[in-house]
Amino acid sequence: MTPLLALRGLTKAYPGVIANDAVTLEIAPGEIHALLGENGAGKSTLVKMIYGLVKPDSGTMQMRGADYVPTDPRAARSAGVGMVFQHFSLFDALSVAENIALGMETPPAMRALATQIRKVSETYGLPLSPDRTVGDLSAGERQRVEIIRCLLQDPKLLIMDEPTSVLTPQEVDILFETLRKLSAEGTAILYISHKLEEIRALCDAATILRGGKVVGTCIPRDTSARDMAELMVGSTLATPKAAAHNTGNVVLDVTGLSAPAPSAFGMALKDVTFQVRAGDVLGIGGVAGNGQDELLAALSGETPCAPGMVSFLGGDLSTIAPEARRGLGVLSAPEERLGHAAAPNMSLTENAMLTGAAREGLSVRGLLNWPKTRAFAERIIAEFDVRTPGPDNAARSLSGGNLQKFVIGREVLQRPEVLVVNQPTWGVDAAAAAAIRQSLLDLAAGGAAVVVISQDLDELMEISDRFAALNEGRLSAPRPTSELDVEQIGLMLGGAHGIEVAHV
């Protein structure tokens, strides 16, 4: 059978780096093909070439035996290639139908479009009302908007970039049902992920990239996750291990924390209650947009809360400013690296000053000690293996994983009593993620109270002693992780938000 898409010897070089080096790949019609690799392995470049966003330097692409040379995404779409990006490109203030119309070359009349959307969404078990405002949708529902936008163009090949990173386990199951149905109808799917268990459950074949080259292919069902991971990384993986440690007194005590939503599309916190002891790692799971950012802001001091809601070692912390909280030893690292945890255009030295001033003694009576700050930045770079030419480089020049190591390292090296992190390993490659998780475990072993907010359930299962779920701004009662399995956690996260599986 002719493959649907055949890539032969695709090469693309950027100044100083070969993003793709003679990549060869075949996808049959209806095949679900996984593209595996760490950050920077060349997955994005490869799919951008298929989607017409990047022109290859050499090599050929064939679609059903005919030459396929997409000059832009429009050409790719008309050849039957659709793509769902990891980051949604949707307008919060517009309705579902309006958002979909914006992505089409020649949108039909609104009423006809709404009918089409309803039809597609019913066929593939993706319930979605065309009239709803996107700002009110959950992340899973937003993804459905993107998927339906692609399906309306009747694609032969659907490219999905990390589609499950924002979904609950139940939502993932529903998505997989949809993808399997599409596959059964003959639509091929190129599925990018680094969640190996998902790939084993879903995909028919996998191609593994490392350093821009294809380093292996396998049948995921017959290959263990560990073997695939080691192919990706190219070496054996160290699993983070918690040292035996005892938990001590309650360090952080949050009682009845409530706060109004900071913006129209934010989430209010409702009666959040938990305690963390010294040496304890509390994992807080939840789908994005359920109050994670707001919870971190309340703990870091960015948004003040009413007296008595947050206390540290028995003292009330609620109305204390961020800087003073750091002085006491309550540190945090927000999710958004660029623009929130770090200032993109400022150097790493200046970014080390951002949170290190009080606790590292970098500022004495308001006067800044830059040599000492530089030394602190250099220490972070050395101890956390941050790949950068030096502390004078701007934060934005670092790759996501390296900047994340810097941000986490900046807080960990300040010897916190309490550390709150949000999405500590989001978009970070496996080796760096393992290093970050290990540093969090070491911190707890040293007697700190650690709160990890994350959407990566595997991560939370791996490092947290107790688990609680954040859903619609409410936090469930924390339970010991050892008593839980993924199914139970999924239900704690709010299940599948009342949506149903595809009717095949």
Binding site: L53, K55, S300, P322, H340, A343, P344, L368, A394, R396
Partner: protein, 360 residues
Amino acid sequence: MIRLEARPQPSAVMAYATPVLAVLLTMIFGGVLFAVLGKDPLQAITTIFWEPVFGEFAFFYRPQLLIKGAPLVLIAIGLALGFKAGIWNIGAEGQYIVGAICGAAAGLAFYPTESAFIFPLMVLAGAFGGWAWAMIPGVLKVKFGTNEILVSLMLVYVAEQLLASMSLGLLKNPEGFGFPGSRNLQQYASAHNAELIAGTGMHWGVVAALVAVIFAYALLARHRLGFAIRVTGEAPRAAKFGGVNPGRLILFCLGTSGLLAGLAGMFEVSGPAGQISIDFNVGYGFTAIIVAFLGRLNPLGIVAAGLLMALTYIGGDIAQSQLGLPAAAIQVFQGMLLFFLLALDVLTNYRVRFGSQEVA
């Protein structure tokens, strides 16, 4: 085809090169403008840039450089602090006027008593006036989220009406034969901001400008508050995460820029201008915006930019009288400078590539 490619880091070279390029481009296109107006462009440019410093009457124009440069630098330093933090005080002209009114009023209240305390009191009053006028947009922004650009700009027109009212009413010279305008402070020794060294143009405003430059430089380079200003301008959320209180920072930046503008007005009215009159303000508060950007919001750069703008003011005056260039042409010339500077700014963060289009 020409396209722009993002630089991984802002270019340090370009940050310093763009002001020079902007001045050169302004000379070229200004020359074209003068040529179209039927003047010899080369002569016009030399009249503006050469005559005041090295010409026949340079002994007269050189002191003017300090007299015109000092208020520009003093105001621009304050504005730059705010601009760096993304707080846009466009109303320095109004704060300058109110500072002048308050300073002059404080002095005139004691007329004709002579005392060494009067001038310092006027300095305090001028600073307070400018500060208070800038606190109006500041407090409105912090309390109600109003736009400080609009409020501060509109308050300029309010201040101009206030100035007219003062010249015709409360501060009018009782011995002025009915002419609008206050008593001339140059004739009131205790209130006169006289030249410190005769024939140099050096007055207390120049001293204040230099002190402000040093203070601002140290603040931005070595103080926590200066760091807070820079982080807020670069990434407001990161600043808030780092512990900056945005409301307090807004009040500090607007208050400081108002205070310095008020001081500039006070030194002007008690020195070079001499009296409160309807046409007392000549646009220093607006020109200072150009000075702040031309100087890269950097205190030392602002000194150079302030002197350059003072030069175009003086040279422009000469060109008007000697070559008959219209005043509007000189203003267009000054405006071009800001235009080219802002346009060239793109080169700091992007490099220009020639060649075929390729999307990455």
